[in-house]
């Protein structure tokens, strides 16, 4: 079974700290001090793909649409066990999901695949759009937020994660596209040595026009006007009053937060 996995590189912004700054353009953050990593969801997607390759044979190809730095992440994918990697060279910061989707769809069309897997969303923008968009463009069925997968006889039996832990069960005829939810597996550790070894594996780079895409075709449909830093709660808003009053206020806040 041939599997294509789409991966993305993101800045590590998991810190509770003031490391994020908006750059001069006002439309991006200063990436200078930030460390890059593979998008967490994509790591699970890769692991899932590799496990099914181990069971059923075939190939795993890692793909990405982004700038040169992203080769680090693709190398990591190769080190994890992907057979080859292809990066479409483009500036990920200025285009939107639909443009990336178009790019990846154009690339994936040229690759052999029975299964395409995406991370359910990205750590940085969290749009959760890419997978289903690409599926629609490729004209294949998809399921988002897959938390369990069983592949047999040209079919994928999946469980989608719904609110409150309930799961939606589907059977998809291959070829199909799945977006993978964290927790579906335990991604393997990628040792330093294996990353070195992976340097020998094939990592090809394609340009947009090699894919027959014009930059115009990629102009964002949703335009980013500006970014604003969320004022970090440097200090908690303390709820005053008696135990009862404070508790009452907090209860309201909790209700309005909608978490419950």
């Amino acid at each position: 079974m041939d599997i294509v996995v789409a991966v993305k590189q993101v800045p590590d912004t998991s810190e509770v700290v003031d490391v994020i700054k908006i750059d001069a353009s006002g439309k991006d953050i200063e990436r200078g001090t930030l460390v890059s990593k593979i998008n967490e969801w994509d790591e699970y997607a890769l692991e899932e793909a590799l496990q099914w390759k181990q069971k059923l044979g075939g190939t795993v190809t890692a793909v990405a649409a982004g700038p040169g730095e992203w080769d680090d992440t693709l190398r990591r994918a190769l080190a994890m066990g992907a057979d080859r990697a292809v990066r479409v060279d483009e500036d990920a910061t200025v285009i939107d999901c639909s443009a990336v989707a178009r790019t990846l769809a154009a690339l994936i069309r040229r690759l052999p695949y029975d299964l395409v897997v995406f991370g359910a969303q990205s750590e940085d923008f969290g749009s959760a759009q890419l997978g289903p968009m690409v599926a629609e463009m490729l004209g294949i069925p998809h399921a988002a937020l897959v938390i369990r997968l069983q592949v047999e006889e040209g079919e994928a039996h999946v469980e989608r994660e719904l609110e409150g832990g309930t799961r939606e069960l589907y059977t998809l005829r291959l070829p199909a596209l799945l977006t993978i939810q964290t927790g579906i597996n335990r991604p393997r550790y990628v040792s330093f040595a294996s990353v070195r070894k992976a340097r020998e594996k094939e990592l090809s780079v394609m340009s947009l026009d090699e894919l027959g895409l014009s930059p115009e075709a990629l102009t964002p449909a949703v335009e980013l006007d500006r970014l604003e830093l969320v004022p970090a709660g440097k200090r908690a808003q303390l709820l005053s009053g008696s135990a009862e009053e404070a508790a009452a206020k907090l209860a309201e806040i909790l209700r309005d937060s909608g978490v419950i």
Partner: protein
């Protein structure tokens, strides 16, 4: 890797499981192996661990998170190497590290270990806190950046990020200043020393860190290094030379000993307490430095030094070695080695347990609280004790 390719394939089966590895020389307690102390199951003793490793490499046993935890619960404290009567005793810890290395290569390691290594790879420290915050421990001090001073003061990850250990890092800074030592630190440019990364079996990452550090040290013209942490001391002293690095490295207790001997450090304010000293594994068993810290303590007026039943080469590890201060496979029980150690210390009647390692410091600090002994027993790093013994500037 099949058993045949394992570096110790011709040795590992030679463990008879006689059990000496569980004891100190005196045999007073069977729990001198921190992992065995915590679980008291043969699987967690060194012998059991070696037999399991062999079974795994021999495909008699599949890898599991639990197997990973058993292997990684080894704190690399070297008690077994000290006690094993057989000729290969010197290799035991390496046998376990080699097995960890194989797990690393296969990508099958416990989640906590994975986090540790990925954090170090990304941010240069196990906690995953930003590199750009490594120097924050210095805020409010006038400690200089390193630019060609006599000593590079290498702080290490725990001293740089752990709020409790930061106090020791700052205290050592003050003491070195009072001792008139010319030194500087790397601040945000400092990177993980890799000692525990190596003990977790990630040889590749360790080599990379070591090469990077050696390069940086050389570029800055570093000749002499003093470390806060025995872990860093061990790596720089015993492992870095493989990369033809020629630095003189001292653990700070050795430097302080020289200073007090040379009367360059005035500790006349003294420190009035009955205290006991906990030997850090990477200073003691790994580098046979038992005297320097004790000599420093003895020279401080008012200090009454009493020993725990198990000390020096027989000291019980705090359970923080081999990355366990982070991965914590030995925590969460009254049988956790750090808590046994806290009780050992308390049994001496001392009011202070001193140590000379940021890892031990944080482990014991937590343990003393967990044991509810905080009102009776204070955990202090020797740097803090010396700092209190130094008269305020101008005197």
């Amino acid at each position: 890797m099949a058993l045949t390719e394992y570096k110790y394939s011709d040795v590992i089966h030679r463990c008879f499981r006689c059990g000496y590895c569980k004891f100190p020389t005196s045999f007073v307690e069977v729990n001198n192996c921190p992992a065995y102390a915590r679980y008291r199951l043969e699987s967690y003793s060194t012998g059991g661990r070696l037999w399991l490793i062999r079974a795994w490499l021999n495909d008699e046993l599949d890898w599991s998170e639990h197997l990973g935890e058993i292997v990684y619960s080894c704190a690399a404290c070297k008690n077994c190497a000290e006690q094993c009567p057989l000729p290969f005793s010197g290799d035991i810890v390496d046998m376990i590290v080699a097995a960890k290395g194989e797990m690393v290569e296969r990508g099958s390691i416990p989640s906590a270990v994975k986090e540790f290594l990925e954090n170090v790879d990304r941010q240069g420290n196990p906690y995953g806190t930003a590199r750009s915050k490594r120097g924050e421990w210095m805020e409010g001090t006038d400690i200089e950046e390193y630019r060609g001073q006599e000593f590079l003061y290498y702080v290490g990850c725990v001293g740089s990020y752990d709020t409790r250990a930061q106090q020791a890092a700052r205290a050592l800074g003050r003491v070195l200043q009072k001792g008139g030592v010319s030194f500087g630190v790397l601040g945000n440019k400092e990177n993980c020393d890799g000692n525990d990364v190596g003990k977790l079996g990630e040889a590749g990452l360790f080599e990379a860190l070591a090469e990077e550090n050696v390069r940086q040290f050389k570029d800055l013209g570093v000749r002499r290094i003093v470390t806060l942490s025995p872990h860093a001391f061990n790596a720089i002293k015993n492992d870095y030379p493989r990369l033809d690095s020629a630095f003189e490295v001292l653990h700070y207790t050795q430097l302080l000993r020289d200073l007090v001997r040379a009367r360059k450090l005035d500790v006349s304010s003294g420190f009035n307490a009955k205290l006991t000293y906990h030997d850090p594994c990477f200073l003691g068993r790994w580098n046979m430095e038992y005297e320097a810290p004790r000599e420093v303590l003895r020279t401080i007026p008012g200090v009454e030094l009493v020993e725990m039943e198990r000390h020096r080469a027989d000291a019980l590890c705090c359970g923080g070695g081999g990355g366990n201060f982070y991965t914590d496979f030995l925590g969460g029980s009254e049988d956790s080695p750090s808590r046994i150690r806290a009780r050992d210390a308390c049994a001496t009647g001392a009011s202070v347990v001193a140590t000379a390692c940021p890892n031990c410091l944080t482990m014991l600090e937590d343990a003393v609280k967990a044991e509810g002994l905080d009102d009776r027993l204070k955990v202090m790093d020797i740097s803090e004790i010396v700092s209190e013994a130094c008269p305020p500037k101008g005197n």
